[in-house]
Amino acid sequence: MANREIISLRELQDKIKRSVEGALPGKFWIRAETGDVKFHSAGHCYIDLIDKEERGGVKAKVQAVIWASSFRIIRPYFETTTGRVLEKGLSILVNVMVQYSALYGLSLVIYDIDPSFTIGEQELKRQQTIAKLKEEGMFGLNSSIEIEPLPRNIAIISSETAAGYRDFMKHLHENDYGFVFNTTLFTAPMQGQSAPAGIIEAMEQVALNLQKYDLLLIIRGGGAAQDLICFDNYELALNIAQFPLPVITGIGHDHDIHIADMLAHTSVKTPTAAAVFVLELFIAEEQQLNSIARRVFLSLQSRIDKEFLRAQRIKERIVSITAARFREEEYKADLNEKRVLAASPFLILEKGFSIVLKEGKRISSVVDLKKDQDISLLLKDGKISCNIKSIQYE
């Protein structure tokens, strides 16, 4: 016990510091993934650097710091070059020096970050996500759903305060055609790391009342590339592909297409374009209806014309048949008149003929008469009584 060498904690820490820093002098380029990232009010940035196993477990971890003096330069360069904010889950290549502090222990001081590495990793990850989704048969899945002819019940996932959402609502509801839509907003964060999970949760909400909606729109206004990186998320893309309603994305961006767009039924560039897309479905349907209506009207018109002609011909037939019938009846009256007048003895008397009567009956043949019989002769203005003296046969 007497030979024990006793040193203070501080002395030990100094030994460790000298050993560690002495054994690892200079700067190293190391690749790692970012864990928690914290920004200090003084302008320093504290990052947990980690290495993960294939299965996702953490196999190495160290605390790193970027001093404010470096971070002022590193941060804007990194963010503009990669299009990403420095946050958890990034693959980065950093230039570090090992530092040991008696108070805080081991940490790495970051002097530089190479953004091109992150871009490469990011693109690689993106391509891997696309390949995986393709392999799983997710491409073309949602777009195989047929859109209702008139999708007027629309579920929207967006952020209420987003300018893009307001543009969309204005454009859709104040349309020049008088189409009326039922829109229901499901709010979700539309940027940052919480966006994919938030959007998926909103999709689950829509799915609870699936029969109420014809279409799902995921929209947000334009933003910086780093705001939109969440739309390359695998889980989100998977949910969009498998969603039972047609999904239309209108994620304000001009250049790159995101994986969410690839798996959606239809992707358009902006929320306003999404409104136009929906309106055009209605316009197309209306035009088709109009053309059908025109065809119905025309065929009805020609049918009416045909029937009208037919009725006209029937009427003409009736007119001519009736006229013929009347002529026939008039002829009968004429004929009867002629017969009456012809048979009437008075006309004969007028003409100077006389009628022979025997006991009041007309005699037309001498056969009916005998000598010495009394007969009468009828003249137009009187009657003569006669006695037959003789009869001559002809």
């Binding site: 007119v319 009347f326 008039e330 009256a333 009867n336 009456v340 009437s344 009041g360 009956k361």
Partner: protein, 75 residues
């Protein structure tokens, strides 16, 4: 088709409502036969001729009535 039924009170000198054109025609036929028949007593003939001519007039008026009515319907 519109059934052209004309009750004859408009034209009928006998004021007999059941008297139709058809009956007038058959009466007329009978009268004509009677007039044409030499057996008919001359005293009767005067009356028959008068009746026949009245019936003919009636028939003509009836026909004209129907004709006007039909013409109106066809307008």
């Amino acid at each position: 088709m519109v059934k052209l039924v004309v009750t004859l009170n408009r034209y009928n000198m006998n004021k007999d409502k059941s008297f139709t054109y058809k009956e007038a025609l058959s009466q007329l036929e009978e009268l004509v036969k009677k007039i044409e028949n030499p057996e008919t007593q001359l005293e009767d003939i005067t009356c028959e001729v008068k009746k026949a001519l009245e019936l003919i007039k009636y028939c003509r008026e009836t026909i004209k009535g129907y004709k006007d009515e039909a013409a109106k319907l066809m307008e």
